[in-house]
């Protein structure tokens, strides 16, 4: 769970960097997308490096979902399927200290995977083309984010990603043994919040930049 999650965070950082190139203009962005496919040539075939990345990503997503489902099932079995709602009393619905992020991990994860499918349909498989299709990845992105509901859907998805990372980054590090003291617990939580904020804001800059006409 922890290792596959951290691999995916690594991917998000790289992906966010790539996206921010929309601010550098059409040429830079399209050149970047094109270069991704030529990475490693001639040692690797065309799209070779991209496929290596895709295989690692698919494996990480597979392991992440498998471990999540295993944990979810164990947790349901241990609590009669009710989790923290297993007491008749309704006086402490939020427990004593758990965060919103921590109890939305599972359904939040489902929202994110549905978003990723929708997102791949949009930008990778080109099965949908809100705002108009184009051969240029830059134009596809700009066309898409000129539409309010596309921007809204990305905002919702990135809020989900932000919450997921807020608890996920902390939990992954703690489960790998990094939480060595009470001070560490606080610092790891601050780190997780920072990672979540940077990724959320970094990804949201292009859609909002385009929507408000700051790009292109």
């Amino acid at each position: 769970m922890a290792i596959s999650g951290l691999v995916l965070v690594g991917y998000l950082v790289a992906h966010m960097y790539g996206n921010l190139k929309v601010f550098a203009g059409q040429e830079a962005f399209d050149e970047y997308a094109h270069h991704l496919r030529e990475l490693g040539e001639p040692m690797l075939p065309y799209e070779g490096a991209l496929w290596l990345i895709r295989i690692v990503l698919l494996a990480a997503i597979g392991v992440h979902i498998f471990s999540a489902v295993t944990l979810w099932r164990r947790s349901r079995a241990a609590t009669g399927g009710k989790g923290s709602q297993r007491y008749a009393s309704s006086k402490a619905p939020r427990g004593s200290q758990r965060s919103y992020a921590s109890f939305t991990m599972r359904w939040g994860g489902v929202v994110i995977i549905l978003f990723v499918i929708y997102h791949l349909m949009h930008f990778t498989w080109n099965t949908i083309a809100p705002g108009g299709a184009s051969d240029s990845p830059y134009e596809r992105v700009v066309n898409g984010f000129e539409i309010w509901w596309v921007v809204l859907s990305y905002t919702i998805a990135l809020l989900a990603v932000g919450f997921h990372l807020r608890h996920g980054v902390w939990a992954a590090l703690a489960s790998l043994g990094a939480n060595t003291s009470q001070r560490r617990r606080r610092n790891l939580n601050i780190l997780a919040t920072l990672v979540a904020l940077v990724i959320m804001v970094g990804f949201l800059l292009p859609p909002f930049g385009i929507f408000f006409g700051l790009v292109g």
């Binding site: 295993t70 944990l71 164990r74 947790s75 079995a77 241990a78 609590t79 009669g80 989790g83 923290s84 297993r86 007491y87 008749a88 009393s89 309704s90 006086k91 402490a92 619905p93 427990g95 004593s96 200290q97 758990r98 965060s99 921590s102 109890f103 991990m105 608890h167 902390w170 939990a171 703690a174 489960s175 790998l176 043994g177 990094a178 939480n179 060595t180 003291s181 009470q182 560490r184 617990r185």
Partner: protein
């Protein structure tokens, strides 16, 4: 003070239970929560009703027998106290208080508020023995222990095995309990020879009993009457990862 209680009543593990309402009049604020239940049980007995079954032994916060979920929180609203050390002054006149047993699949209800915690005993047994000489007490300086380690081992050893961590955990995990037990031996020289097998075997028994997995939410540490801290779970994970890497 006058209190209204909503108490979980259940004949045994095989029959479904339900919350039932009782009035307790003239409760002294100095009574402990369990003494207040004793008063109610006397009323019930005098009226010919079945008294409420609940566990307790030491009534001074050291045995770990008295776990109740009070108003949805394990051991009630106060920090760092067991149910027997919770006093009625923590409530107000006229309060309605919900009282339920620990809930987790491995803790089946025996009757009313009493649950079967023998799964914890089996986890302790799975940890096995330590290779220390018994008999006459060894010289105090025979095995030097750094002060910081001794203190941390003592902190971990204050776990009384009450099970509040499981009751509070949204995943029904007993990781805090297992981590406390693994840590208090793992920090001392006497605990080194079996350190790897202890971590692996206790965690395996924990999973075998049907407890959930830890997702680092931290509700356990908020409920723990002994202040066992979450970093012990990280420490357990390091012991487990270390043991796996040493395994041939």
């Amino acid at each position: 003070m006058n209190i209204t209680l909503r108490v979980w009543r259940q004949q045994n593990a095989d029959t479904p239970g339900a919350m039932q309402t009782y009035q307790v009049a003239d409760v002294s604020p100095d009574m402990s929560f369990l003494e207040m239940l004793d008063v109610l049980n006397e009323q019930l007995t005098l009226a010919g009703d079945d008294p409420i079954a609940f566990d307790s032994d030491c009534r001074e916060g050291i045995c770990g027998m008295c776990g109740l979920v009070i108003n949805g929180l394990a051991h009630g609203p106060n920090e760092l106290v067991t149910t027997c050390q919770l006093h009625m002054r923590s409530f107000s006149d006229g309060d309605v208080i919900d009282v339920e047993p620990w809930r987790a699949q491995p803790f089946s209800v025996i009757k009313d508020l009493v649950v079967d915690r023998s799964s914890f005993d089996r986890i302790i047994q799975a940890g096995g023995f330590i290779s220390a000489p018994t008999g006459t007490a060894p010289d105090a300086h025979a095995a030097p222990v750094p002060k910081a380690d001794a203190d941390a081992a003592f902190d971990a050893a204050t776990c009384i095995g009450c099970g509040a961590c499981v009751a509070a955990c949204p995943n029904g995990s007993a990781s805090l309990f297992v981590a406390a037990k693994i840590t208090h031996l793992g920090l001392l020289p006497q605990g080194q020879p079996e350190r790897d097998s202890r971590a692996l075997d206790m965690l395996a028994q924990h999973d075998e009993e049907g407890f959930g997995g830890c997702t680092q939410i931290g509700e356990c540490t908020a409920a723990c009457p002994k202040g066992i801290q979450l970093d012990l779970i990280s420490r357990m994970q390091r012991d487990v990862l270390g043991a796996l890497s040493h395994r041939r």
